[in-house]
Amino acid sequence: MVPLSYYLILSGILFACGVTGFLIKRNLITIFMSIELMLNGVNLSFVAFAAQWHALSGQIFVFFVMVVAAAEAAVGLAIIIAVYRTRETLNVDQVDLLKL
């Protein structure tokens, strides 16, 4: 059996990739995908722990996260489309009307 630490390290790498992508990318869709990556990194650690401790709650949690992520994806993509329609760009640095 693959040791728990492998899963956790993979989960950490996935999360770090998500964070990095979120911080350095300018395209809204890429940022959005980075968030999904972070969520899935967390999901991986949930299921890994669930398998390790034979506890079902970790698995159930993952389903909840997926549901929320799906809803978020729907809303997020809608916002992205709305932004593109009004601003003709998906570069976050140019979407700064609220900035002083």
Binding site: V19, L23, I24, V92, D96, L98, K99, L100
Partner: protein, 671 residues
């Protein structure tokens, strides 16, 4: 059974008048304002008369508690009123003279701006003055004491557009504060040592104490009370505000700065006789201050040329007499003089106001003269006042001044000698004023010029030629003139003294035997001694009357027969004359010794040093520091989502590192 007098109504009636005029007066007609002011002050007078009618059926002292005020443990101060013979006399003086002056003011102030303001302040003054004299404890008295100071300040600065009036108001207020400081400390001492401020309780607590054991405490309290009295009643060294207070309208000078408020100090000292009876040193201080002030102010009065300034210094001098009386233990003589002084000095000020009114706002006596025939009513009433203050029998001033001098002579002939000489000076400067104003030729400018003068003169009464005042002003003059003539007769056969005797003797017998001043007043003289006393008293009376007549003759010689003489004498006296003319440079000395250093220290140390350097610098510095920190920190608020996310990630990384450190390091330590 003692009837309920509703004493609280007496002070509150003028307060109601002040409130109505103060809130509604701005849009009211002059008639309405006058009606309100007169009705409420008149009602107070009527109440006072009613109290007199009920007086014989009262058990004295009559105390009426209106509402509790401060109750802390055994210490208790209430809104309560106190009536005995002393407060009754004061009550009649304040309401009676006050009412007359209200009537007079209607005529005097009719042409002035701020009419409603004037009567609001005047009624307010009546409220505080009545609170002062009817209070049943020192704290309520102190409220009245401060309140009359406030009213005085407002009325001195009534013509506040004029710098000198505003400055005079401030000066009066500040000098009074110095006195109030002494008064307050005395009250604290009373609370600390006797746990009460009520007159009745204090008398009860203090009565069994002996002078031998408590002289230090009583002397301290007595002198501190005298400091307060010196401030309010314009005694050396705090008298300087009163002459300047003449910047106010003349009725104010008559009511506040002659008849009532300035006598509050005398009242307060008399009210505290229980303490003073046990503090011979304090009494000596009172007597010396009074005697010195009487003499000192009288000498200044001789050289003044402003008709109101002469009267102002005369007031200071007469107040000195009252303190001299109190200081030799003859409180009733002091109060007697207070009463007659209220009559004749109120009259003199009102008459002076009438003169000023007549000559179009001119106050310089050198520009008057020959007014005898032009304003006969004013002339005759002022004559009554002048003869009364000069101590010519049988007018009021003679009886009271003679009583004080007689009582003073029994303690020390020095007081008596200075007093008689001051009586001569008083007579001289008053008749000087009388001759300068009413006799000789009119030296003022003609009426066209009077208007120019009106522009910068004090009361702005520049209208028309020399003319008699309206009846509304003459009425009070006549009433006060009659009182100045007959007011002293109540003192014949010691009736006034006997009337006040219960107030001053009830507690004074215990422990005072060792002190001769109090004792002479208390111990019934043996018949033998009384006989010789009578002849001595008569001799002293002749001497003081002679002093008054001599003053009259000298003034007559100098200012009527040989009007060129005074100038020659002034030249001969040279420096001395100018020193007196400039009021002994006291104001200048105070300015150099106290005011200037105080201002210098205040601006250098307290303002620039502490206020600017410490307090402002602390606030400014902390504000500046906060601003600079914020300036740095605000760059974090870039509005850039990714930078926020970066901060969150950095924070999360810190937490993870910390937890990793805890997980790795702590178990190792635990092991």
């Amino acid at each position: 059974m003692t009837p309920n007098l509703h004493l609280w109504l007496i002070p509150l009636l003028p307060l109601a008048g002040a409130a109505i005029n103060g809130f509604l007066g701005k849009r009211s007609s002059r008639q309405a304002i006058s009606t309100v002011a007169l009705v409420f002050s008149g009602a107070a007078f009527a109440m006072a008369l009613w109290v007199v009618s009920q007086f014989s059926s009262l058990t004295l002292p009559y105390i009426e508690t209106l509402a509790p005020w401060i109750r802390a443990g055994s210490f208790q101060v209430d809104f309560a009123f106190y009536l005995d013979q002393l407060s009754l006399v004061m009550l009649l003086i304040v309401t009676g003279v006050g009412f007359l002056i209200h009537i007079y003011s209607v005529g005097y102030m009719w042409e002035e701006g701020g009419y409603y303001r004037f009567f609001t302040y005047l009624n307010l003054f009546m409220f505080f003055m009545l609170t002062l004299i009817l209070a049943s404890n020192y704290l309520l008295m102190f409220i009245g004491w401060e309140g009359v100071g406030l009213a005085s300040y407002l009325l001195i600065g009534f013509y506040f557009l004029r710098d000198s009036a505003a400055a005079a108001g401030k000066k009066a207020f500040i000098v009074n504060r110095i006195g109030d400081f002494g008064f307050l400390i005395a009250l604290f001492l009373l609370i600390k040592h006797f746990g009460s401020l009520n007159y009745a309780e204090l008398a009860h607590v203090i009565a069994p104490l002996h002078i031998e054991t408590h002289a230090g405490l009583f002397t301290t309290i007595g002198i501190l009370l005298m400091v307060g009295a010196a401030g309010k009643s314009a005694q050396i060294p705090l008298y300087v505000w009163l002459p300047d207070a003449m910047e106010g309208p003349t009725p104010v000078s008559a009511l506040i700065h002659a008849a009532t408020m300035v006598t509050a100090g005398v009242y307060m000292v008399s009210r505290s006789h229980v303490i003073f009876d046990r503090a011979p040193s304090a009494l000596t201080v009172v007597a010396i201050i009074g005697t010195l002030t009487a003499f000192f102010a009288a000498t200044i009065g001789i050289t003044q040329t402003d008709i109101k300034k002469v009267l102002a210094y005369s007031t200071v001098s007469q107040l000195g007499y009252m303190f001299m009386g109190c200081g030799v233990g003859a409180f009733s003589a002091g109060i007697f003089h207070l009463m007659t002084h209220a009559f004749f000095k109120g009259l003199l000020f009102l008459a002076a106001g009438s003169v000023i009114h007549a000559v179009g706002g001119e106050q310089d006596m050198r520009k008057m003269g020959g007014l005898r025939t032009k304003i006969p009513w004013t002339f005759w009433t002022m004559t009554a006042g002048t003869f009364a203050i000069a101590g010519i029998p049988p007018l009021a001033g003679f009886f009271s001044k003679d009583e004080i001098l007689w009582q003073a002579s029994r303690v020390s002939l020095i007081y008596w000698g200075v007093g008689v000489f001051t009586a001569f000076l008083t007579s001289f400067y008053m008749f000087r004023q009388w001759f300068l104003t009413f006799f000789g030729e009119y030296r003022g400018e003609e009426h066209s010029g009077a208007h120019d003068h009106g522009a910068h003169s004090h009361d702005d009464h520049g209208h028309g030629g020399v003319h008699e005042s309206p009846p509304v002003m003459l009425g009070p003059l006549v009433v006060l003139a009659i009182l100045s003539v007959v007011g002293g007769w109540v003192g014949i056969g010691n009736r006034f003294e006997n009337f006040l005797a219960p107030v001053f003797h009830s507690t004074a017998t215990v422990g005072a035997g060792s002190f001769d001043a109090a004792a002479t007043n208390i111990a019934p003289a043996e018949p033998q001694k009384e006989e010789s006393d009578k002849s001595t008293e008569l001799l002293f009376t002749y001497i003081s009357v002679a002093a008054g007549i001599f003053g009259f003759l000298l003034a007559w010689q100098l200012y009527y027969r040989r009007p060129e003489l005074p100038a020659e004498i002034a030249t001969k006296l040279g420096g001395l004359y100018y020193t007196v003319l400039n009021k002994y440079y006291v104001d200048e000395i105070y300015a150099a010794v106290i005011v200037k250093p105080l201002i210098a220290v205040s601006s250098a140390v307290f303002w620039q040093g502490i206020d600017r350097g410490v307090i402002d610098a602390t606030l400014d510095g902390s504000a500046e520091g906060a601003r600079e920190v914020s300036d740095t920190m605000r760059h974090m608020q870039s509005g850039n989502i990714r930078s926020y996310a970066g901060w969150i990630a950095a924070g999360a990384a810190c937490v993870i590192i910390f937890m990793a450190w805890v997980a790795l390091a702590a178990p190792m330590g635990a092991r």
